[in-house]
């Protein structure tokens, strides 16, 4: 018998221990029960998301079409060219993660097909880490699905306390949570324990508290697109530390509380309203003028 009423990470951790299962297994059983589906049907939905993520990466790697506003869209190509000339300092997995994250985010703003995981603005983070690590470390599709379920379960529990929306809690709740989800997914793929997974989430989230949402011209482009590769790499840092059994001194549920409180305290001008921060810089205002003239 598996516990269905799981609203905090502590509950999740305990329930997994009692049933002696991984996070993904508990999440998948719970989801099947609540949605009146079989576990295989649940996995099938997850698989469709995984495939859509891979398709978006593929399309994004092969395009340099600009966004509707014309502000972004050609950076993934630039990055790939640079890596062809000169390999990345941190090796091929780094190259893939950063390129895949940009590919997906650029695909998003040229109205391509993406998975809003957890949101459209942060859509490059989970896929880039999942697919790049999956490819380079020979992770089977079955295990990639396990990792995506793990990521989804992490996002779900955070979202029980705070809506994953820039307008509600700033970018810490979008790209920040995406990065935390990815950190957990990497740990899952590399054979981390439940404890290590949750520590990776804690470490990733803790180091992004306070991240504001100040998109230039009110569009999901600047800073969103380039923020995706940054926070994808951030996720890997968290996973590496956690896999070394480094623990977050502050428990994960308390970090989520801090995130919620920080979101509440954050000025509304920095929560997707484009009234402060980057959105009100001199250059942003100039861009706004030239765009709205059209």
């Amino acid at each position: 018998m598996i516990e269905k009423d799981i609203n905090s990470f502590e509950q999740l951790y305990k329930a997994c221990n009692i049933a002696n299962v991984s996070i993904y297994k508990l999440a998948q059983t719970r989801e099947a029960y609540l949605s009146e589906k079989t576990e295989n049907e649940v996995r099938e939905i997850v698989k469709r998301s995984l495939e859509a993520m891979k398709d978006a990466i593929k399309s994004g790697l092969n395009s340099n079409e600009l966004s509707l506003s014309g502000m972004c869209g050609a950076d993934c190509e630039r990055l790939q060219k640079r890596f062809q000339r000169k390999p990345a300092l941190f090796g091929n997995t780094f190259e893939k993660i950063t390129a895949y994250a940009l590919a997906t985010s650029e695909e998003n703003l040229r109205m391509g097909k993406i998975v809003a995981c957890p949101t459209a603005g942060s859509c490059g983070i989970v896929p880039s880490v999942l697919v790049a690590v999956g490819e380079n470390f020979n992770i089977s599709e079955y295990e990639q699905i396990n990792a995506l379920i793990t990521a989804g379960e992490i996002g779900r529990i955070v979202s029980n306390k705070v809506a994953l929306a820039g307008a509600v809690a700033g970018c810490q709740a979008e790209c920040g949570v995406a990065s935390a989800m990815s950190a957990g997914a990497v740990c899952q793929m590399l054979g981390g324990s439940n404890k290590q997974i949750l520590n990776a989430v804690a470490l990733a989230l803790k180091n992004l508290l306070g991240l504001t949402c100040d998109p230039v011209c009110g569009l999901v482009e600047i800073p969103c697109v380039k923020r995706n590769p940054f926070l994808a790499i951030h996720a890997v840092t968290a996973a590496e530390l956690a896999l070394a059994d480094i623990e977050s001194k502050i428990p994960l549920d308390e970090i989520v509380d801090a995130l919620e409180q920080t979101g509440k305290l954050m000025s509304p001008t920095l929560k997707e309203s484009s009234q402060a921060g980057l959105a009100k810089t001199k250059t942003a205002l100039e861009l706004e003028k030239s765009l709205f003239k059209k």
Partner: protein, 222 residues
């Protein structure tokens, strides 16, 4: 407390760039189309506030039109919707307005054709949408269930009369939402059902007295 689902976090698959301004626009268009439930000759879209200001960069206009034409949120053709054959078969127009009494992402749909109809709704975030008005009547529903919408004169016993017809056919009512504006005047009822209402039930309901509007709106697939 309703239990949350991790599937919601790792979906939907959609065309970008924005859940509220693109996917939400498509879904609002789809739901308005289900409300209208006929082929319009012309549709006028009135976009308000944030939809009017940042819509161009989010493809909000494209999304709304695509929805009204029946395209799904993950249809790659939405990017080039104006060039699609479906779009060439109807007339459409976009108007951009400011009205801070309305939701930041509010839209009016003005359908013209064999039937003329006004539908207003909001994209309320994360792709979720709400229809607020049909013609001059206030309503409230989200497209998550098949919904029977009734606007009627506020006379006693209406709710039990309607629900009796539905329950006699063994159809489960998932939720019932009623609203009244002034006693004795217009009231509205949104009945969400599990499963389908067939022609026969709808006929029976249409036969009830004091109804101004009866509309059966199908749920959205995504």
């Amino acid at each position: 407390m309703a239990q949350s689902s991790f599937i919601d976090i790792i979906t939907p698959i959609m065309v970008g760039p924005s859940s509220s301004h693109t996917a939400g626009a498509v879904r609002l268009g789809l739901l308005a189309r289900n409300v209208y439930d006929a082929s319009p000759h012309k549709v006028t879209f009135r976009l308000y506030n944030s939809y009017a200001q940042t819509g161009f960069g989010h493809g909000t206009d494209k999304g709304l039109l695509a929805g009204v034409l029946g395209f799904a949120v993950d249809d790659k053709r939405i990017r080039h919707i104006f060039e699609q054959p479906e779009a060439k078969q109807i007339a459409y127009e976009f108007q951009y307005l400011e009205d801070f009494n309305r939701h930041p992402n509010a839209v009016d749909f003005i359908f013209e054709g064999d039937l003329n109809m006004f539908v207003a709704g909001d994209s309320v975030g994360a792709g979720e949408v709400v229809i607020r008005k049909i013609n001059e009547f206030s309503v409230k529903f989200t497209g998550k269930f098949n919904t029977l919408l009734l606007v009627y004169r506020d006379v006693p016993g209406m709710i039990s009369r309607v629900t009796k017809v539905i329950q006699e056919k063994n159809i489960n009512i998932a939720s019932l939402h009623c609203d009244r504006y002034a006693k004795g005047e217009e009231a509205s009822m949104c009945i969400c059902v599990d499963g389908e209402l067939d022609e026969e039930i709808l006929k029976l309901i249409e036969g009830i007295e004091n109804l101004y509007l009866v509309r059966y709106v199908r749920k959205l697939e995504h």
